[in-house]
């Protein structure tokens, strides 16, 4: 009991210094948490992938399309429940800065993605309107889209200005669902392409394949690819997760940089914290000697120093973690649709706490060793 009291008193002796150290810790823990969340957000697409969905694309690259008639061939493969076409549209809404994903999708698409929850009436209205579109909740909030709004998009792959009418807004089944996307009818795209740019007609970017049994994913993928072996457009089929991770992998260099930087901030704060503890211990050498002269052992002194360091680190960690949530929310709303999913995960919080405690413990290491080794005579002689 006395020990705890002593630790608290010691920590509060230099209120300014302790306060500053805590502020530094809060800033570091907070930015560490945000950076980890940014990295998580990158992987969000892969996390949201369902095991019973496969993506079939052209083996050359994603940019080379597949012919439309592949759809029926894929559907005939044993174990395939449904197939939907999807084309990346890459339209520009007002300004190239306003980026959000747009897909022209075939009829079965929304039954393959049950996590996109659309009210029945809105979905029926979408089906009836050839130029209809369904947008995600987050996208709707970012640009103020409401049901009935007309949205013009300037095509980059499919030239011209295209106008769509928002017929429905979908919500995600859980927080990990991407609700920043824009969907419209593939038929509308294709009919228009036929008249305006025949070379782009009847071409499919990717097929989303729903399979009956997730355990047979590898087998079904191979069967699909075997169908088109040695044809002009060979296919590559992989699980949705592998497909998404393929994207992330290509920007991995940036991810690694962000990871490294997020640990650098921990080192920066470690330097600050270690400095605080070193100064504190140097100033108290006389006291430590006195305590030793009174019969307290080195273990007691070490407990004092470790306790104080860990206490300060813990206070910083708690405040930092608590602040992470509102700051992450603010950051997500500022970034708009750039990060479709931006959630502080439990691992992030655990990692934040672990880093803070590691910093606290490491910072106390040298001062504690010094305090244990100090000879009573030298210590009493020291004047700080």
């Amino acid at each position: 009991m006395h020990l705890i009291k002593l630790i608290f008193r010691n920590a509060l002796r230099h209120k300014l210094r302790t306060g500053l150290t805590v502020v530094g810790l809060v800033v570091a823990i907070l930015s560490f948490g945000l950076l980890q969340t940014v990295v998580d957000a990158w992987y969000a697409g892969a996390e949201g992938a369902a095991p019973n969905r496969l993506i079939t694309r052209n083996a050359v690259s994603l940019m080379v399309p597949l012919p439309l008639h592949y759809r029926d061939k894929i559907r005939s493969v044993d174990g395939v429940k449904a197939v939907a076409a999807a084309n990346w549209f890459a339209g520009v809404y007002q300004d190239p800065k306003n980026f959000f994903p747009q897909f022209a999708v075939g009829p079965a698409y929304f039954s393959i993605y049950p996590e996109y929850r659309i009210p029945d009436a809105q979905y029926r209205a979408f089906v009836r309107d050839r130029a209809g579109a369904i947008v995600g909740r987050k996208l709707a909030q970012t640009y103020g889209f409401r049901v009935g709004d007309v949205v013009p998009l300037k095509g980059t792959i499919f030239p011209g200005t295209w106008t769509f009418v928002v017929r429905g807004i979908y919500d995600g089944a859980d927080a990990g669902t991407d609700t920043s996307q824009f969907f419209f009818h593939w038929d509308y795209l294709n009919e228009t392409a036929k008249t305006r740019m025949p070379t782009l007609a009847n071409k499919i970017g990717i097929f989303v394949v729903q399979i009956a049994d997730a355990d047979r994913a590898a087998e079904v993928s191979e069967e699909i690819d075997a169908l088109f072996k040695n044809s002009p457009a060979e296919t590559l089929t992989e699980t949705e997760k592998a497909f998404q991770i393929g994207f992330v992998k290509q920007t991995e260099a940036i991810l690694i940089a962000v990871r490294i930087v997020s640990f650098l901030v921990i080192f920066i704060i470690l330097a600050v914290m270690a400095n605080t503890m070193a100064m504190t211990a140097r100033e108290r050498r006389g006291e430590y000697a006195t305590l030793k002269a009174l019969g307290f052992g080195g273990g007691f002194l070490a407990t004092l120093i470790f306790g104080e360091s860990l206490l300060i680190a813990a206070i910083g960690a708690v405040i930092g973690v608590v602040f992470t949530f509102p700051v992450a929310d603010w950051f997500a709303s500022e970034m708009g649709t750039l990060f479709p999913v931006f959630e502080v995960s439990r691992e992030t919080v655990v990692l934040q706490a672990a880093c803070a405690l590691a910093v606290g413990a490491t910072a106390a290491l040298f001062p504690a060793r010094r305090a244990i080794r100090v000879r009573i005579v030298d210590g009493l002689r020291a004047i700080g």
Binding site: T21, L62, M63, T156, A253, I268
Partner: protein, 388 residues
């Protein structure tokens, strides 16, 4: 009367551990600050070096990238006939009709499937890019399935060495040469015959047309004529501008993220400096009193402590910039979001970055040391002398 600098410097030396820890924290911040700018500069230099000032690049209107662009043969022929396009010694136009396709290749070390830009060029394609030269093997022959690869590709991808074969578009392509493109984006490309590539990928259209102007100023007249031609739906840009735009998204991302991080991290480092300097003042109250009693003015004390803090920042700055300069040996390759293809670039250190990073370190020192220095200057002489 001024307190000699040596007084401040010796104080730093007297408490070595504290000095090292405080400057170390600052050095890390300066490192991040400098490294991010180096990355941004490297990216931009790579893409700017890709464009030649008197070259133009013609794409479909609003396409933005070569991948999503299409120029049909009739349109390409119309562009070729324009009087502003320069003529070479062989009496042909210096113009290359190009087909750009993205292919997926596995990286050598990690096996990660990566998008690689494959460019089919016309006979003038090499002459239009004086920065490109063959460093190994030879140029490919037109009309064959031969290709040459950029040196970043040769280094990082399987089957991309001279004499090896790459399979894409239903054919085996023989690599007959490796080219160096002096740090431009072409280093991350594969080049072949445009007509062969178009056959392999069953394409009817070119992706873009690259041409040399007779003089750099001829662009406006050309652009206006092409704009008014009802047969064309094309955009004409200087090659350099085109590639600058390609770097915008990534460059903005890097610089915003970097600036935000540097500012946040610097708060941590400045707090570190502040703690150190407050402690330095608190430990030396008696000393400060003595100095004042000897006749040194408040301003002199303020400067002595401020200088000590600036010196801390300077040490951090030197170490940080030195660490960052080591990053020049690191090359980074990533997906460029705008062109959707692999791009390799390196950290580039410029004198401007050195100066701005060092200035950043000094500013951290000033801000961190200012309040403690003010406290030192405002101490009462009598109280200060008594306090031991």
């Amino acid at each position: 009367m001024v307190i000699p600098f040596r007084y401040s410097l010796r104080n730093l030396r007297a408490r070595r551990l504290t000095t090292i820890l405080t400057s170390g924290g600052m050095a890390l911040v300066v490192f991040v600050f400098a490294a991010v700018q180096m990355l941004d500069t490297g990216l931009r230099q790579t893409l700017v070096a890709t464009g030649q000032p008197d070259n133009i690049l013609v794409t479909r209107r609003a396409a933005g990238t070569e991948i999503s662009s299409a120029v049909d043969r009739v349109q390409a022929a119309i562009v070729e006939a324009q009087p502003e396009i320069a003529t070479g010694p062989d009496a042909r136009r210096i113009l290359s009709k190009e087909a750009v396709v993205l292919i997926t290749l596995p990286k050598r070390d990690s096996g990660v499937a990566t998008n690689v830009t494959t460019r089919g060029i016309g006979p003038a394609g090499l002459a239009l890019r004086p920065q490109v030269r063959i460093v190994e093997g030879r140029m490919f022959e037109f009309g064959t399935s031969q290709i040459i690869v950029g040196q970043s590709i040769a280094r990082r991808f399987n089957g991309a060495g001279v004499g090896q074969q790459l399979r894409f578009g239903g054919r085996e392509w023989t690599v007959v040469g490796v080219f160096a493109a002096s740090g431009s984006a072409f280093d991350s490309e594969v080049w072949g015959d445009a007509d062969q590539l178009m056959q392999a990928f069953r394409r009817q259209n070119y992706s873009s047309v690259v041409a040399r102007l007779t003089e750099a100023g001829a662009l406006d007249a050309l652009a206006q004529r092409l704009d008014n031609d009802p047969r064309l739906t094309l955009d004409v840009k200087r090659e350099r501008e085109f590639y600058e735009e390609q770097s915008k998204l990534m460059s903005n991302f890097i610089s915003y993220l970097g600036l935000t991080l540097s500012v946040i991290f610097s708060i941590g480092a400045m707090i570190g400096a502040m703690i150190t300097m407050y402690a330095a003042v608190a430990n030396r109250v008696g000393e400060i009193g003595t100095l004042r009693a000897l006749g040194f003015r408040r301003a002199a004390v303020l400067w002595a402590f401020l200088f000590e803090s600036i010196a801390l920042g300077a040490v951090g700055g030197v170490v940080g910039v030195a660490l960052a300069s080591l990053m020049q040996f690191v090359q980074i390759s990533t997906l460029n979001w705008q062109s959707f293809s692999e791009l390799a670039f390196s950290f580039t250190l410029t004198p401007r970055i050195v100066i701005s990073s060092f200035a950043f370190a000094l500013v951290m020192g000033v801000i961190g040391g200012f309040l403690p220095a003010v406290r030192a200057a405002r101490l009462n002489i009598i109280d200060a002398i008594r306090a031991i």
